[in-house]
Every structure is written in C-alpha cells, then in structure tokens.
C-alpha cells in the first residue's frame, strides 16, 4: 500500500492503469473507485478530482458516490480494521460498552483511524452471529462473547 501522505506521481500513474483497465467512461466510476481504494487505501480529495477528470465526470458526482457508499472512505485506513457489531442482540448484550472501550483504546471515534495508523474503527449492524453476542471482528478474525475486559488483549495481537 502506498503511503498516505504523499500523493505522488506514482499514485496517479496507478490510477491511470486502473482507468485503462476499467474503461475511461462515467459508467466505470464505482469499479474504478473500488480499485483505487484497494490500491491507495482511501480516496482523498485530489484522488477524487483525478478520477473525475479521467472519467469525464464533474468532481461533485464522484464525491456524491464516495459519500453515499459506506464502503468508501476519504480518511487514511489503519493497518487493521476493527468492527464492533451494534445489531440489536449485540447491542443489548454489551456491544455498546465494547465499542466505547475499543474507541478509548484506539483513541479515535467510529469511522476514524488511530494516530499510529494501527486501527480503523467501524461499526457493523449484524454479522449473523447473534447467538454469540456481543461480537467484534479484527480484519478477518471474529471474536465472540466479548467482554470489555478482553478488548486490550484482543487488540494487542495486532501490530
């Protein structure tokens, strides 16, 4: 993954490649954004403008789409993604408190990334494991019946 601070020529040439593969037309927008986010990790304003120019779209249209779908992010992503379920079952069985602790440990709010770029914190509305509530995930790993006291131990596994 490219660094998040410098939007150097290298990144723009990668976007050019992606646009070439997907087709330089307005209808490729969502696919291009997916691929670009996969490459860079997030979609900052200059990247959105660049994609808009490449596809012949107004920048506002690109921003509309980016802001509509929760999958897209305009903030740099952490190395690991923590998702805490706030579906009904998880919520009533302590998911809310788990989320509070996760945010405190990471030092950032939902939709944000910790200062050391280690974690991005997100909320999910159900992952279909209500019997194991409350549930949280870190990257591809699922943790069930999470107690607030276990959060530190879970997060420590991820560098």
């Amino acid at each position: 993954m490219a660094t998040t601070e410098c939007l150097c020529a290298e990144i723009y040439s990668k976007i050019d490649e992606i646009v070439k593969t997907k087709g330089a037309e307005p209808s490729s927008l969502i696919e291009v954004l997916h691929a670009v986010q996969q490459e860079i990790g997030y979609l900052p304003v200059p990247v959105q403008q660049y994609v808009a120019d490449a596809l012949g779209l107004p920048p506002g249209t690109v921003e509309s789409v980016v802001s509509f779908y929760s999958f897209f992010t305009t903030q740099p992503r952490g190395r690991h993604t923590v998702k805490v379920c706030q579906g009904t079952a998880c919520y009533v069985r302590g998911g809310k408190r788990v989320l509070e602790v996760v945010q405190k440990q990471c030092g950032c709010g939902v939709g944000e990334t910790s200062a050391d770029q280690r974690f991005s914190v997100e909320v999910v509305r159900c992952i279909g494991a209500c019997g194991l509530a409350p549930v949280m995930t870190v990257d591809e790993d699922i943790y069930d019946r999470v107690k607030t006291t276990r959060v530190t131990e879970i997060l420590e596994k991820y560098e």
Binding site: L7, P46, Q49, P58, P59, G60, E63
Partner: protein, 581 residues
C-alpha cells in the same frame, strides 16, 4: 389512434403514450401539488409530494414520473393521498427554519405555499435545523443550506441546463447536504454565477448577494451623484414581481419608479447595447475582411464569459474584445457623461439594474476600472429593484410613465433586442449588413435568428458575403456548439452565446418562477418593444452618433479600445488542482 384513456378523479381523459399522470392532469386543469418537479427539468420523483392513488397499484405513486397506461384510474386527492402528502410536507417542515418572515422568499416560497394549501397548522415533529453556515463567499449567489429541502432542482439545473455541475449532493439521509464539490466556498468553486439555480429553488436556500443596503446608502448620501442604468430584459419582467402578468412592457413605469427612489439620472443599458453593436459590429467586419480569428463570439453575458474561461480557455481568442453593455455604460458614464454634466467622477456612483447575478461578479472584475474608477459600483437584480420599489410603497401598476434622461438614455430597437436570445445577433446583423454592403437593409426583422431552439443557425447574405451565424442559449447548448467549433465541424463567422435559457430575459436575477411559457411571454414583449421604437438600427441612434463625434472618434478608435474593450482570464475547470510535486 395511439391515444389511451385515463380516468382521473372520475373524469375520462385522453392521453398520449409516454405522458406522465401529472402532465395529463395539468392538461385537464386538475391540480396535483408538486415540489421537486419543475417544468424545465426532467422529473425525478424525489420529494413524494405529487403522490397519487392508482387503482391496482400496491402503493401511492409519484405522478410526476409515473407514465399513464390505458384504462388507468387515478385519484389525486383521496383520503390516503391527502394523509401521505401531508406527512411528506410535515417531515420537510420538521427541520426547516420557521422564521418565514425574515426570509427573502417570504410570500414567494413553494414550501410555504404548499403548507398553506394543505392547511398545515401544526408541525408535530420539530427538530433543530442543522445549523449550517450561510455561504456568502460568491459575488453572485448566496447559499443557505438550512433552508434547502434537497429537491435537487439546483443540481439538475447546474448540470443539465448549464453543463457546469458546480452543485452536488453529499452524504445520505438526514446528513444529506447540497453544496459544491469538496465543500468549497461557492466563491472558490467552478461556478459561473448565472443564478439559474436561484430561479428554480423552491425556497430561500439560494438567492442573490444583495446590494440593496449599499444602494440605499449611496442614494441617501447628499455628496454622491447616483446614476442608474436598466438592462433591456428588466422592463419585460419587473412587473411580474409587482403583481403584473408576464409579458408586460413596463419601461415608462420603471423610469418613474427609479426617479422616485432618488436616482439623479435614469439611463438605459439599451444605449450602451447600441454602443456595443457599433464596436462589436465593426470588430466583426474587421475580422471578416482582414482575416481575424473566426467565428467571433459575443461577450455580453458574464455567465458565459466565466464559463468559457473555465471550460474552453483555448477558445478565448474567439471572444469579441468588447465589454458588455453594462460595463461600456459604466466606463462612458464616468468619463464622457461626467465631463458633459460637470460631475466629479469620484463622486459618481453607477448602479445597474440587471436580470442577472453574474453581472455582480462582472462589475467587480479588476479589469473593469478603465474610467479610472470602478466603472459600475453596484448591481441590483430585477428582484432586488422590485423589493426597493415595495420598500417605498409605490403602486407600480398605476405609476405614470416617463422617459429616460439624456445623453445616455436614447436607444434603438436593436438595443432592446439584447434581452432575448438571438437579439445581439439580430442587432449586429442590422448594422453589419449596412456597413459591409453600404446599402440599406430593407427588412430589419431577421426572424431566422429568433426563437427558443437551444442552438439555431442562419445564413445572411450581405452583398457578396454569405454571413454564417449561430446562436445558442443555456450553457449546455453552448457547449454542444463549441465542441463542434473545436472539432472543426462548424465554420461560422459570428456566434451569439447567452448563458441563460431564453437569453437575459431568463436571467438568474429575474422574478421567480420561470418556465418556458413565462420566458416566451417576456420574449414577445422584447420584440414588441423593438417594434414600438422609431429607430431600429444601433448606428442610427443620434445619441450614439454624438458620443462618437464628441468623444470617442470612431468605432475601434484608441479611446474606444481603452474604455470599451477588455481581455479575459484562462481558468481551470478543476475544482482542486491534482498536480503535485
């Protein structure tokens, strides 16, 4: 033959395939309330105010976008419809600021009118408005997002009519916000200040940046000599904002009202439109005969000027170097007129009444100071003038009529044509024909360039020369024409482009609402005003002749170039620059 039968509220109606329920109802004078629907825009069914009950349909459907079918039975005001419609409007009101009395659209707001029509006396769900900041960074257009009901008409207008796409919707649900890309202040965004979004905004979320307080202050300052100019399109629309029907020519009442307001001289932009024709006509003749850059494109419409600067900077050499009539007027008022009248130009203020919000930006351009002062000090839209007329309690419809003052008040019918799409072309051709051929043009009504088609073409025989002309109005139409010029598929001599649909008469400073029917009524009034004038050709205007004799010399003279011509600034169409080190 292909007719289909529809029943609306028990009335049997004939309809054509492809028509929407709303269209069929409107033809039969059955009112269905609407909010996001606008006759100039394709329907999107966003607001759900126009819901109707259709027999056999599971849910209520939006009539603006629902096509009719043979045998369809529709009820527009059943109990279920009334309940749903009311719920929709109550929810729109739930986070809408309720201080209607302090809103620029008080009395002319579609949301307010709808609440009245539905008899809403209580808004049971009330949440605080978002508390968004008012964006008054633009010299033309002010945005107040708290008053926005997310109907998206402004977005559609900016994208589909103007091809500018400055506005977009961001986010989802309660957090949805209409604004510029990347939340730039409008003053920094790629916006041409045309104000077409204002004309189609149902509420007070979009309005012009007002100059009313500054103009009152100037009028009340005994040290200042305040002159006013009125654009051609103002006289055919002002009445609408003061209780008169569209299409009334109110020139004589307008001048009386301006004197009542306290202006020291009441002059006419039609005069400087005639002056523009002299300069621009001679420029065209020069380009055609001496092999200059062709086509020459008109430069009167400041929304168009900013558009070409952003989107087609490579075509800037095609633009006529002539300032717009507004700016020519300012430069002449503070030099020639100041001299003739013995007024100190430092103590003179020039106010414009314009159908236009982009004129506010134009007047503030740094290059528009050739008189040695700011050439035009304040610009008021037609709407703002109507407001000031109300403020002094004039019964506008019954005002006596009066004439413009000399020496900048006399004009030809060609000058007034500037208010309609194709008008500058027609006015220029009336003069260019006679300059090129040295013969008198028998019929001054060049109807080939009139009309409301988005792009029109005409060939006019001027002696040996077949002068090829094209006219476009609405910037999306203009872009089509420009793309053909760029591609080398069009070889015109002269092109007229106006930013707004219908030309200035449909400008972003004109009374709200707007529609094709209203613009057509204003256009008919423009041609009526032209016909009613004894002089129909700009070069025969005695005041213009005198101006050249006493002051400018001849068209394209050095003095003309200094005062009446300008230059342009290439700009980027990118909202943010993507170039990095």
């Amino acid at each position: 033959m292909s007719d289909i039968n529809v029943t609306i509220n028990g009335q049997s109606l004939k309809a054509e395939p492809g028509q929407t329920i709303l269209e069929v109802a409107q033809q039969a004078k059955i009112r269905i309330p609407t909010l996001c629907y606008h006759p100039d825009l394709p329907p999107i069914g966003a607001c759900r105010v126009c819901l109707v009950e259709i027999e056999g349909e599971r849910a209520l459907q939006p009539s603006c976008s629902f096509p009719v079918r043979d045998g369809m039975v529709v009820r527009t005001h059943s109990a279920a419809v009334r309940k749903a419609r009311r719920a929709v409007v109550v929810l729109l009101l739930s986070d809408h600021p309720s201080d209607c009395t302090a809103c620029v659209r008080n009395g002319n707001c579609e949301l307010q009118a709808l609440a009245e029509e539905l008899g809403i006396r209580e808004v049971r769900v009330r949440v605080e408005p978002h508390g968004y900041e008012v964006d008054d960074s633009s010299l033309g257009v002010v945005r107040d997002p708290d008053k926005c009901i997310l109907c998206r008409r402004c977005i559609q207008t900016c994208e589909e009519i103007q091809g500018v796409s400055s506005l977009r919707i961001k986010g989802r649900g309660y957090d949805s916000l209409i604004g510029t890309a990347f939340d730039l202040p409008l003053g920094d965004a790629v916006c041409v200040n045309c104000g077409q979004c204002i004309n189609r905004c149902p509420t007070g979320a979009l309005t012009e940046k007002t100059a009313i307080p500054e103009v009152w202050a100037a009028l009340e300052d005994p040290e200042l000599f305040v002159v006013v100019q009125t654009a051609p399109a103002v006289r055919v629309a002002l009445g609408e904002a003061l209780g008169m029907p569209p299409g009334e020519v109110v020139t004589g009442k307008l001048t009386t009202a301006l004197r009542e307001l306290g202006f020291d001289r009441v002059f006419d932009t039609d005069f400087s439109a005639d002056l523009t024709i002299m300069e621009e006509g001679y420029e065209l003749v020069k380009r055609v005969t001496e092999g200059g850059v062709l086509p020459q494109i008109t430069s009167c419409s400041p929304g168009w000027i900013k558009f070409i600067e952003h989107f087609y900077p490579e075509l800037l050499p095609h633009l006529s170097s002539c300032k717009s009539p507004q700016q020519m007027f300012g430069a002449v008022a503070k030099t020639y007129f100041a001299e003739e009248a013995g007024v100190d130009p430092a103590k003179m203020r020039v106010v414009s009444i314009m159908p236009c919000t982009a004129k506010k930006y134009e007047a503030a351009r740094p290059e528009m100071r050739d008189s040695g002062y700011r050439d035009v000090d304040y610009v008021l839209t037609t709407r703002e003038l109507a407001q000031m007329i109300k403020q002094i309690g004039l019964d506008f419809a019954h005002l006596p009529e009066s004439d413009y003052d000399d020496p900048l008040g006399e004009s030809s019918g060609a000058g007034v044509l500037f208010g309609a799409t194709g008008g500058v072309m027609e006015a220029a051709l009336r003069t260019a024909y006679e300059v090129i051929t040295g013969e008198r043009l028998e019929n001054v009504d060049i109807v080939a360039v009139r009309g409301m088609e988005g792009v029109r073409e005409a060939t006019v025989k001027c002696g040996d020369l077949e002068l090829r002309a094209a006219v476009a109005h609405g910037l999306a139409n203009a872009a089509q024409l420009l793309d053909r010029i760029v591609a080398g598929e069009a070889d015109y001599h002269f092109v007229e482009i106006m930013a707004c649909p219908g030309g200035c008469l449909g400008g972003g400073g004109q009374p709200v609402p707007t529609s094709m029917a209203i613009r057509q009524a204003r256009a008919d009034a423009i041609y009526q005003a032209d016909r009613s004038l004894p002089i129909r050709r700009s070069h025969e205007n005695p005041s213009i002749k005198r101006l050249y004799e006493r002051f400018l010399g001849e068209p394209l003279s050095e003095k003309s170039h200094h005062l009446l011509h300008t230059h342009y600034t290439p700009r980027s169409k990118q909202t943010v620059e993507t170039e990095t080190e």
